[in-house]
């Protein structure tokens, strides 16, 4: 094993940053460590520099005052124009020349027109100033809301009735096949019978009989039509 070179205090000081930043060669590193571990002068120096670096790196940046940017702009691009007198009174009109202001006005006007056209009680064909009164608009809107509510309620109740009828019919359909399983099929179909079963009610039977009678009368009145259809 080769003996380590003895570094002086000056050499240690000169290579302190290299040591802290890990830039020493392995041989130099060992020599540095050997000196530091035994030197009462260099060891505290290394510790204080190391702590100093930690403190320096943790120092926050200072926020420049906001006026600095304006001061720089004034100094480089020249001072901003200050308008005085009657021109200053109308200086705000320049802002209206900005396209953004134009877009803003257009969007506000469009919104107003949309609101007006959808507001209840106002007609473009017969515009009345009285229709634009808030009380009138409120009354008309209230009326329209109530109307819509009443229609909605009626629609829901109608739906309920329809569903109730449908559910009862489906229950009957499920019960009827169960009852008919034990019944014998009739030999002949009755008029108006379509599914191999008897009409469920006498009224339905009568109606089917009536249609049959009407068809027979129609065939007697229009024989040619029925003959062509048969062919």
């Amino acid at each position: 094993m080769s003996s380590l070179p003895n570094w002086t205090h000056e050499e240690i000081e000169a290579r302190l940053t290299d040591y802290l930043e890990g830039l020493l060669q392995p041989e130099e590193q060992r020599a540095f460590d050997a000196h530091i571990s035994t030197c009462a002068q260099c060891e505290p120096l290394l510790a204080s520099v190391s702590h100093l670096l930690t403190d320096l790196h943790s120092m926050d940046e200072i926020e420049p005052p906001p006026r600095l940017i304006y001061a720089i702009l004034d100094k480089t691009l020249g001072p901003r124009e200050t308008v005085t007198g009657w021109r200053a009174a109308f200086a705000w009109l320049r802002a209206l020349a900005n396209p953004r202001v134009g877009y803003g006005f257009a969007s506000v006007a469009a919104t107003f027109l949309i609101l007006l056209s959808t507001s209840p009680g106002f007609s473009w064909r017969k515009p009345h100033l009285a229709d634009l009164k808030p009380a009138t608009i409120y009354r008309n809107a209230d009326q329209r809301v109530h109307l819509v509510y009443a229609r909605g309620t009626k629609f829901v109740s109608d739906l309920r009735v329809v569903y109730e009828i449908q559910s009862r019919l489906s229950q009957d359909d499920q019960q009827i096949p169960a009852q008919d399983r034990n019944r014998q099929q009739p030999p002949l179909k009755d008029p108006g019978q379509t599914d191999g079963t008897n009409p469920s009610s006498p009224k339905q039977q009568n109606r089917a009989n009536g249609i049959d009678t009407n068809l027979q009368m129609l065939a007697a009145d229009l024989p040619l039509f029925f003959e062509r259809r048969i062919r």
Binding site: S48, P64, K75
Partner: protein, 167 residues
Amino acid sequence: MRRHTRRIYNICYRFTGNGAEAEDLSQDVFLRVYKTLGSYRSAYGGFATWMTSVTRNLLIDHYRRTKRDRVTDSLDDAMPVVENKASSARRPDELALLGELSSQIQIALTKLSPELREAVILRDLQQLEYGEIQRTLAVPEGTVKSRINRGRIELARILQQMGVRPS
């Protein structure tokens, strides 16, 4: 613009230790950059490096100027004017901004020689690489390393003399 302003102001503040001087110097830096923009070449190693170089030159000029003032005033006051300005001209809100330790380090920084001070500021506060510092200061890399090393050791000793215990 805002980013550059912040960076330049910080370099100036750390170098002078005085908010008002840092503001004036930052304005001078931007004015000089604005006037000499035509002379900028990418060979300088980037606009930020070139701007830092301009800042450094102005800071050194400012240091020399205030040094002359300091010599003039030295009959009345034994302490250097820059150091006095650094401690007395600092506003209370500036002191509040800096922590206690940070303000002590700031005072110690202004006691360093300008060559060591700028090297430590650029390396340890602005976190620049050795190459960038070399281009900014226009000195060989060995000199940069040596100045940073000596600056750190000197700063640690100054803080020790001030009775400041680093964390």
